[in-house]
Symmetry: C2
């Protein structure tokens, strides 16, 4: 009875295109919305406090593969990836809601495993599960999480505040989650071909856990607070460094120069990338799901962070006309694109 | 690689059993949670304001059938059903997030239809869409909505405050959404058997729209405020009157006597129920998705509401030992159960 006359496939627009397209028609003008669609989390002004809200949906076979993803880790990661969005606004998450849809192939014990991971993340980050929904699905598993937190209005960090001359910084190291995924995918293929072979992932503990059980950088937010630094802009790295740099650039109206030799890459990530014939810098630039924080700082703060093991200055902001560019170890210059870079 | 040794099917527990079971293990103790799991919406105390959060997930073929559900109505209903939960706490919704997962069979125009409905509901109820996610699914359509609102702490109405002697009231009329669904299901079967026949639903406009395009009772909340009435307990009718009465009874520690002859049933609902051989009272007691409000009032407020066309007193609260019971038109007494009643 419902019939659709025009047909435009969604792939033609892409995910970001679709969101922009839909957002165009959204009614706005609610007086207590400070930030709506288009940042890591929305910011609402309720009374004397700003409330941050972020939401995300994970779909089996699209976002995760249960062949190598323990359900407990999946529950943990579903929470962490949403908390990361609240931290990326310089906020503190307090509460989460979780809706789970699952087909009849899942048992009660499977659901308990998912919630064991959800509860472990709640304990680790001092947030509380306050609601949700458990329902049937036609096929597979879906998890939808909404995180709610608070921040003082003057401390909120958007994607849009970077100024020319600011330092571009990243927490932790990059590319690990991506190389962990490559490794798990390879072991899955081996296992499917030879079900009697047991995968040996032990020596790759670090990158496998980067993929399966990431952490949100609550500690980095606390460190910045302790050092009385409010970044000028911030975003979390869920889609990959290049893609996130483009977001900061677009929202702030500046361009970034990024130095390849400054990209923080763990030795284990580096080794596995080489083993897979992947340039480690490519893994760092394109690999998503590290859930590290990417942020810009006024240069005056440099002395406060230069000794930190966990924060690396990888570049700086400059005029928009200069484009987002990667300066390689050989001092070649490439334009950054959402998926890495292209030669110029 | 993930293996599940114990196997308990989820049907054994049922939806409410599963939620209770999972909630048992949830870590709690966040100082700014006033109400966590277990009411229509969670209540958080952030600064000087209470924040209400409610979430829900709709799954194709489980919660809706696209054979007879226009996508625009679906988007509208997805928002309304969540707003209804915020109103059921005597709160005011301000914001929603929406995540949509859909398979490749859906076109851009289909997604636009869903969002047209979402935006129509946002305009109707003065709420703003502030975030969300659009992703692929393996099969079918899923919509997950989170509604966020506010209330003054002293005005929040829980499921738990009903006292003996309180009046049990319901807004609007009941059973319409259920009979609308029966009608649509019948027309679907006719259509599948005889694709050349066009369904004639026009004379059943009211009950069809109760099913496809329900409204949340913002007006009733406003009416109660205007009359300076704060209900002692409240819940919205999403699963059916009997089931919701049991919730109020369990949370408040009282039992209810319900008079069959007081149940508000629209003439159109009544006629279609008779046509289908269904007792209209059964439709009113068991039919879900009316999104009316069920609430209890101190008797002192009776004079303020007795003239209202839109609020019906259907019974009263009494000692828990007296059980939840239906008094039929013939003055027979039946115990209420979650799905209607059973003879005693």
């Amino acid at each position: 009875m419902f019939e659709n006359k025009e047909r435009t496939s969604i792939e033609e627009l892409g995910e970001f295109g679709l969101i922009d397209h839909l957002a165009e028609h959204a009614p706005t003008g609610n007086a207590n919305t400070i930030i709506g669609i288009g940042d890591d989390a929305a910011v609402l002004k309720y009374g004397d406090r700003c409330v941050l809200v972020s939401t995300d949906m994970l779909v089996e076979q699209v976002h995760f593969d249960l062949m190598y993803t323990p359900l407990k880790h999946l529950g943990y990661k579903a929470i962490v990836s949403n908390l990361s969005d609240v931290y990326a606004m310089n906020g503190t998450p307090h509460h989460v809601t979780v809706s789970v849809a699952l087909s009849s192939k899942f048992t009660l014990e499977a659901v308990e495993e998912i919630y064991a991971g959800i509860y472990a993340a709640c304990r680790e980050y001092s947030v509380e599960l306050i609601g949700g929904d458990t329902t049937s699905s036609l096929k597979g598993l879906m998890i939808s999480v909404t995180a709610v937190g608070t921040a003082k209005e003057e401390e909120i960090v958007r994607r849009s505040g970077a100024k020319e001359g600011d330092l571009l910084c990243v927490s932790g190291d990059l590319g690990g989650a991506y190389m962990g995924l490559q490794l798990l995918e390879r072991e899955k293929r081996v296992y499917l071909d030879h079900p009697d072979m047991q995968p040996d992932l032990e020596k790759h503990d670090y990158i496998v856990s980067r993929q399966l059980r990431p952490e949100a950088r609550k500690d980095v937010i606390e460190l910045l607070k302790e050092k009385e630094i409010i970044p000028t802009s911030m975003i979390d790295i869920s889609d990959g460094l290049s893609s996130e740099i483009m977001h900061l650039s677009k929202h702030s109206g500046v361009a970034f120069a990024v130095h390849e030799d400054k990209l923080p890459i763990d030795q284990g990530t580096y080794n596995v990338a080489v083993e897979f014939g992947i340039d480690p810098a490519t893994a760092a630039l394109n690999g998503g799901e590290d859930y590290e924080l990417l942020f810009t700082l006024d240069q005056k703060h440099y002395d406060k962070i230069k000794g930190s093991m966990d924060i690396t200055v990888i570049g700086y902001a400059r005029a928009l006309e200069m484009k987002n560019q990667l300066i390689t170890k050989q001092k070649n210059i490439h334009d950054l694109v959402a998926q890495g870079w292209k030669s110029v």
